[in-house]
């Protein structure tokens, strides 16, 4: 069952087109990363899905209902970018309030805060919290009432690596229970292992919507081969392979993914001249830049 469907969604602010014909969907239990530079339209897209701003054109279906409708809001949780709370309230008071707004028992507040690692700080005012702690309060409120769709806007900014892992572990649990999760990020490196699919926005347009493996294939970026030649043989190896000699022993080659095996065969054919070979696939940042900078169709 689709939890979220967008088709041909367009939104314009004055002269800038924030979203252009964006369309994709999220199924139950699916985790999708929404990537893009600042101003690519990620936050606007989330606000359209939440019903906070209306799209100029296109259709959005949230849990089978209109965005912003009561049915949609009942089942959707949101974690805004740079989430903020009233500094005079304690973490427990703030979460109790959100629980009441969702019609849940406010006594769950402490358990929710404990789940995100804030048990000790629950009775302190949020004004004394660090950015990472506020971010975790934001996550705690997004867990209220078993949401069926989660929209997380750069949820891990401000988190240290350990809390980041805890954070993703919680998301894994939610997805396993069937929640659909859309979370935005600046960096592909960060979301790589945590997502089923990747959607990339560039200047309001969707330039990619696929699994990481498929995006890697589509991008067809060159593979780097680093060959370590035996001492004194670097020039010979470079000449033989038409490669570039970097230093006394290393020769670098670049080839398409399709040519990779043939090139490795050539290298192996040099026998004793070669000491070692390293294969470097295109980095996640390279793939992201490839799509994000408009190289994609």
């Amino acid at each position: 069952m689709q939890r979220l469907t967008l088709s041909r969604v367009t939104k314009t602010f004055g002269a800038t087109q924030a979203l252009r014909d964006v369309g994709f969907s999220l199924a139950a239990g699916e985790r999708v990363a929404l990537l893009g530079h600042n101003g690519a339209g990620k936050s606007t897209l989330m606000k359209v899905v939440l019903g906070l701003i209306a799209a100029d054109a296109g259709e959005v279906s949230v849990l089978g209902a209109a965005p912003g409708s009561r049915a949609a809001r009942m089942g959707t949780a949101y974690l805004p970018e740079n989430v903020a709370f009233h500094p005079a309230l304690t973490g427990a008071e703030q979460i109790s309030y959100y629980l009441r707004l969702r019609g849940e028992d406010p006594a769950q507040a402490l358990a929710l805060l404990a789940r995100v690692g804030l048990a000790d700080a629950a009775r302190r005012r949020i004004g004394t919290y660090s950015k990472g702690m506020r971010q975790r309060v934001g996550l705690a409120q997004a867990l209220i009432g078993r949401p069926r769709l989660l929209l997380l806007d750069e949820p891990t900014s401000g988190l240290d690596p350990v809390s980041r892992n805890t954070f993703y572990a919680i998301l894994d649990g939610l997805a396993a229970e069937g929640a659909a999760i859309l979370h935005s990020s600046h960096a592909l490196t960060e979301v790589e292992a945590r997502t089923d699919r990747i959607v990339i926005l560039s200047q309001g347009a969707m330039v990619a919507n696929d699994t990481l493996a498929a995006l890697r294939r589509q991008a067809a970026l060159p593979v780097q081969l680093q060959i370590t030649a035996r001492a004194g043989a670097a020039d010979a190896v470079a000449a033989e392979l038409a490669g570039r000699r970097c230093n006394g022993v290393r020769v670098d080659l670049s080839c398409t993914p399709a040519d990779k095996l043939a090139r490795l065969g050539q290298i192996a054919g040099l026998g004793a001249l070669v000491e070692d070979v390293e294969v470097l696939p295109p980095s996640l940042d390279d793939i992201y830049s490839h799509f994000s900078n408009g190289a994609a169709p």
Partner: protein, 273 residues
């Protein structure tokens, strides 16, 4: 309803922490004490019990202070949440904007009820302690109390409307102070000037009463002075009680909170977080 009260409880707690509750109570208590001390000089010569005299003084006090407190509490209600960045999140919860605003309204009105109650209570106590027949004025005091809250409710609504419209706390603060000055201070001065210029003509007989009824602060003052028969002793525009019967003033006063809340809700609904 539970969602409204959830917001009320949270807003009340924030006001307690921000010392707003304490400040409102202190301001009202201080002014009531000053009034009680100043009023202790004038005794029976007016033919009224001391509490009734106190009520007349409190009316003139309330007409300035209650709107000011209400505006100061309300100007930040929406703009503050926009600036802190807390509004977008709460608007994604399954709660209507009307319920959010109503929750804040109930909390702020409760603080006002507390502060005004303490202030008037102190003034009443001072009058009752010094003169036994002052109990005769209790009815007038009660009338002043609930009409003060209706006045406060009107200005809370106006404050929310400004807060939602201005979007920034700084701008909203400036606007509410300006509005207070215009509606409470300059409005009456303007009317007086117009009355003098008109010299009992068409304006005085047909337009002036409506302008009085249209301003909640004037409606409040006229209602209380007319109902207690103290109009004759009052000076300035308040002396114009004859221009407007108490019932009409009351209708205007009673309609204002609804009109102001509707205005606030309309402004809040237009707000894009």
């Amino acid at each position: 309803m539970k969602r409204i009260l959830a917001t009320t409880a949270t807003e009340f707690r924030i006001a307690l922490r921000n010392r707003w509750v304490a400040i409102a109570i202190a301001v009202m208590a201080l002014f009531a004490l000053v009034l009680a001390a100043a009023g202790s000089g004038a005794t029976g010569t007016l033919g009224a019990d001391r509490l009734s005299v106190t009520v007349a003084s409190l009316t003139s006090l309330a007409v300035y202070l209650v709107p000011l407190l209400a505006l100061l509490m309300s100007f930040d209600a929406v703009a503050g949440e926009v600036e802190r960045g807390t509004l977008a999140l709460v608007l994604t919860y399954p709660v209507s904007r009307a319920a959010l605003l109503a929750g804040k309204f109930v909390a702020h009105l409760a603080i006002l009820a507390l502060a005004v109650g303490v202030g008037y209570g102190i003034a009443a106590l001072a009058a009752l302690l010094s003169e036994a027949q002052a109990v005769a004025g209790l009815a007038a005091l009660w009338r002043l109390y609930w009409s003060s809250l209706v006045l406060g409710a009107s200005f809370l609504g106006i404050g929310y409307a400004i807060s939602a419209w201005a979007r920034r706390p700084g701008a909203a603060a400036g606007l509410v102070v300006g509005l207070w000055l215009a509606l409470i201070v300059l409005y009456d001065l303007g009317l007086l000037a117009a009355l003098v210029a008109d010299g009992g003509g068409l304006f005085t007989r047909h337009v002036f009463p409506w302008l009085l009824a249209g301003n909640p602060a004037d409606a409040f003052r006229l209602f209380n002075l007319a109902a207690s028969g103290a109009g004759a002793a009052a000076a300035g525009v308040a002396g114009a009680t004859a221009a407007l019967p108490a019932a009409q003033a009351l209708v205007s006063l009673a309609l204002w909170p609804f009109a102001a809340f509707a205005l606030a809700l309309a402004a809040f609904r237009r707000l894009l977080p």
